[in-house]
Symmetry: C2
Subunit: 86 residues, 2 copies
């Protein structure tokens, strides 16, 4: 499965377009984030992408889980959102 | 449908217990939040509640949407998460 990364500085409209494209092509996409700001941007992106996908008869939902991410030899707890079609 | 409200100061373990109970009883629950801190607490709560529900054979996912909330005569944009069973 493909993996997108979203940060607190990501543009929700751009991320929404990427999510919609992946879901249309592959049926699902995993997105990885660290921190409250990044989660916030991702959730906005998911809501916007719902508007891109709904006219194609595609409804999505997301399943969050914790993931350990190694960054510069530090282990940080991030969150992975599996975005799936309903 | 029942409506929970979660803030940036909510305890994720308590919220997770409430989500799990509502999902077991009703099959779904809507949760309303405003702001990145509250979204962060809610997502952690959803992940923890997955651990409470999985042993009962219940898998959940969430569908976010924007909502206009009237607070002290101001209209703020919040986010509503519909938590559903798969």
């Amino acid at each position: 499965m493909e993996l997108l990364k979203v940060s607190s500085k990501s543009n929700p409209v751009s991320v929404a377009g990427a999510i919609a494209n992946y879901v249309k092509e592959l049926g699902s996409i995993d997105v990885q984030v660290i921190g409250a700001g990044a989660i916030n941007q991702l959730i906005k992106s998911i809501i916007i992408s719902r508007g891109y996908l709904a006219p194609h008869g595609i409804e999505i939902s997301c399943i969050p889980s914790f993931v350990d991410l190694k960054i510069n030899n530090d282990v940080k707890t991030g969150i992975k959102f599996s975005i799936i079609t309903l």
